[in-house]
């Protein structure tokens, strides 16, 4: 795993088993590992792992995410997002860094700004000096 994505891994505090169907807002303060179905919202200050076979019809808000299942909803990730080969995402993505692996399907808009922008703060406009440097 790349250095940037190394901190995505970790033990899950919440595990949603393959035959579980969740309806409502799933909130956690730790890592969430989803193998079943979730309809509603998924919110955590840590990482979300959507395993192959999982079906999420929900907006996801997390620090990092690794997606191998299906998501119908928007992803607001303040850190790293990995779309694995089995991932199917229909929705808009906002994240700091993104890795899309061979075979992953993604339909939607992708917005990659600074973490502060994802958290709701506006990205400051580039200074004149930066504009000159770009030219």
């Amino acid at each position: 795993m790349d250095k940037d994505f190394a901190n995505v891994e970790g033990p899950a505090e919440t595990i949603v088993g393959p035959s579980v169907k969740i309806q409502g807002d799933l909130n956690s303060e730790g890592n969430i590992n989803i193998e079943g179905q979730v309809t509603g919202k998924v919110i955590t200050s840590q990482s979300v792992f959507v395993k192959e076979g999982a079906k999420i019809t929900a907006d996801i808000s997390a620090s990092n995410a690794v997606v191998g299942g299906e998501i119908l909803g928007n992803l607001k990730i303040t850190g790293h997002l990995i779309l694995q080969p089995s991932a199917k995402v229909s929705g808009d993505i906002a994240c700091l860094t993104l890795r899309v692996e061979d075979g992953a399907q993604f339909t939607g808009k992708c917005n990659m700004k600074a973490a502060s922008a994802i958290n709701g703060k506006k990205t400051p406009p580039p200074s004149d000096l930066e504009l000159e440097a770009e030219e």
Binding site: P11, A12, E13, T14, I15, V16, G17, P18, S19, V20, K21, I22, Q23, G24, D25, L26, N27, S28, G30, E35, G36, G40
Partner: protein, 280 residues
């Protein structure tokens, strides 16, 4: 002042009196003697807790079985005591959790007075510091053989519906599960079954193949469901058990409530005397 509640429970009189004498001797040796009272058909544990409160006791010690301690918890009614436990039952689950697995260890812990604030779980007027079960009968699995284990874990799956923290509903077909505040053995994962984290852990066991039953039956018997593949693990503060209606909720094989029921955690409610070898 220490107030000791001695409860014979299911012990033979001779054995009980022998343990009571041993405990009294050790209390005198460690200079922690206080007032002692014995549970009788006319003086229930609840009556004795009332008496302790009237006498101004600050430390309440249950000397008996896990049931003695659980009944003492139910009788507290919000009154603030430091609690201790001296086990008179070699197989006491609570003794293992608290790290006081003998009369001597219990008395020593009270003398050392190592205090910890721990969470208290509440269900239908009952309180517990250990765990509840539905469907899975871990205590039965401990004593049954291979064939019986296969039978116990090959039963028909139940449609389970649970509401978590008034925030989301969980629906699944499963064998059963555990609602854990603490356990008698330390798990690999320090985040599960920690009675000081202000949370309950809901562990739900999904269908297992025969091979998996053979491989994990001991793990299930110990209550470490999170080590079994496909187990659902949820950390929460409130669990409303909705379906299947009428299903039993048991604590060490004793039925304490039936579905529908609500389990809640009261964070850091108990001031508990614990031993060095506690599981958390």
């Amino acid at each position: 002042m220490h107030y000791y509640i001695f409860d014979q429970g299911n012990l033979p009189v001779e054995k009980f009196e022998q343990l009571q004498t041993e405990a009294a001797g050790l209390m005198a040796e460690f200079k922690i003697s206080g007032e002692a009272a014995r549970v009788t058909p006319l003086r229930s544990i609840s009556d004795l807790v009332d008496t302790a409160s009237q006498r101004g006791a600050k430390t309440l010690v249950a000397c008996g079985s896990d049931d003695t301690f659980n009944l003492m918890l139910a009788a507290l009614k919000g009154r603030d005591f430091v609690l201790g436990f001296i086990p008179f039952d070699e197989n006491s689950y609570l003794a293992k959790i608290l790290g006081v697995d003998s009369v001597q260890a219990g008395v020593k812990a009270i003398a050392a007075r190592r205090l910890l604030k721990i969470d208290l779980a509440k269900i239908a007027g009952n309180y517990f510091v250990s765990f509840l079960e539905f469907g899975v009968m871990s205590h039965k699995l401990k004593t049954t053989g291979l064939f019986s284990s296969l039978q116990l874990l090959s039963v028909e799956l139940k449609n389970i519906q649970i509401r978590i923290d008034d925030s989301y509903d969980l629906n699944l077909k499963a064998l059963g599960g555990l609602i854990v505040n603490s356990r008698a053995l330390s798990a690999k994962s320090k985040t599960i079954a920690n009675p000081t984290d202000g949370n309950l852990d809901l562990l739900i066991l999904e269908k297992l193949s025969k091979l998996q039953i053979l491989k994990y039956r001991k793990t299930i018997a110990e209550g470490f469901l999170e080590e079994v593949p496909k187990t659902t693990v949820i950390k929460c503060k409130k669990i409303a058990l909705l379906e299947p209606r009428g299903a039993n909720l048991t604590m060490l094989g004793r039925i304490v409530a039936k579905f529908p029921a609500t389990v809640e955690i009261i964070p850091q409610r108990l001031r508990m005397i614990v031993g060095k070898n506690r599981t958390f």
